[in-house]
């Protein structure tokens, strides 16, 4: 065989093998300890209540922290990590999701590449705030050590946040169709 034929054979074997290997045993890149996902909050079109500067900063910070907690809890299969920034239906759904994926030997990794958030509703009494979030998320699902699913998507979320004693909680976090906003 000539050298070129050898090379073609090797490539012919190597390429399919690489495509198989990408679904398996790919070491995930470690998440930077202590770093929050990037959240950019735009409150220009919020109403009927205007948002105060400090409130906006708090909401952005607590929303970012909520996403960090969500990622940590889904990867570690720990529902207690949801206690700090989730409440109500969002917490119940995530708790159920974690319990069931744990029961089925799965874990989920969210690689968060940032959120473009638009605040669209703030009730006059300040008790509820609705956000539209366009998030760049890389989703990886593992069955044991084996990755069974991966996807890199731009997902749209409709979020309801409510104020607590010293922070804002995510009370509802729902993915919506691409044409929702």
């Amino acid at each position: 065989m000539t050298t070129k034929l050898h090379l073609a054979c090797c490539l012919g074997v190597l390429v399919p093998c690489l495509s198989l290997v990408s679904f398996y045993d790919v070491a995930a890149s470690p998440v930077e300890a202590g770093s929050l996902p990037r959240v950019r909050l735009n409150a220009e079109s919020i109403g009927p209540r205007r948002i105060e500067q400090k409130t906006g900063e708090m909401v952005a910070r607590d929303y970012a922290q909520a996403w960090q907690d969500l990622a940590d809890s889904l990867e570690a299969n720990r529902t207690d990590l949801l206690n700090d920034h989730f409440a109500g239906g969002a917490k119940e759904r995530l708790t159920q999701r974690i319990s069931e994926q744990k029961k089925n030997g799965l874990r989920t990794r969210y690689v968060d590449h940032g959120h473009q958030v638009k605040a669209v509703f703030y009730s006059p009494d300040g008790g509820e705030m609705q956000l539209q979030d366009q998030a760049q998320i890389e989703l990886q699902v593992f069955g044991g050590q084996k990755m069974i699913y991966t996807a890199s998507t731009t997902s749209k979320y409709l979020v309801l946040m409510t104020p607590g004693a010293d922070r804002w909680y995510v009370r509802s976090l729902e993915t919506v169709p691409d044409d929702a906003f």
């Binding site: 054979c9 989920t108 989703l139 169709p177």
Partner: protein
Amino acid sequence: MPKVILTVPFSLMLLALPALGQSALRAPSSVSAGSSFSIATSGTGTAMLYLLGPSHVVKRAIELGQDLPIAGSDVVASGWYQAVACESGGCTSTTFQVLPSSPARLRFLVHPSRVPVSAPDAINATALVFDRFENTVLERTNVEFHFFSAAGSAFDRSVPTVRGIAWLQIGSTSKQGPLRVVASVGEAAEARIIQQVASEACGLRIQAISGPRTVKLQTDPVRDCGGNPLPDGTVVSFTKIDDAGRSTVDTPIRKGVASAQFAVSGRARISVACGVVLGNEISVNGERR
């Protein structure tokens, strides 16, 4: 040339090997929450199916090449789902979206629970519309708000939802008492009660009955400018200034009036206040002590 012809198809065959061996899944692009449906599969043999949703995970063995029935109870939460089928050769997946079903529930928030009468835009009512699985209904829906006051008047407002939320602001009525607010959409309805209370005291006046050494004071019935009586327990402050100095007493309204008694030395000026509202000032004469 024959060597090249042989090389390319060989490589392509190798590339195609995974495709030839793997199954495929096909799901509807969207389903309604709680509705059962099927995912079509191709291929042969058995595989492990993983259905991953926002609040639910299913894992079960399946036969490839057959339609997979998915129960409605597995897709109650709206959002994106992933269906993954894994076999020895690898995993294949598909995604689909679960959309909220029809409006069936309301979360109704009314603030404040107590409001002074005749306050413009003081009452805020916010309704969030959900389907029976607590998914936010994004489709535009009309929420009906009904208001029933203690005086017997009633009025309605219809507000369309935007992203699942309908809200309105109204002022309180001029008469104190409970204001019942009902929000409804379809068969779902929620009621709340707002207490309309008297606002600041208006025309606060005291009358005095003088004795040689003491003076008894009593206010007229304490009312706001709309004639609503201030509730019992509201604090009224009396102040007396005479030769002995200044004396004050904070006393609560009882049966609509507040009363106090002071010892008086010489000429005394007596005033009254309720919160930040001042009443009249009177002068009395007492024996010098």
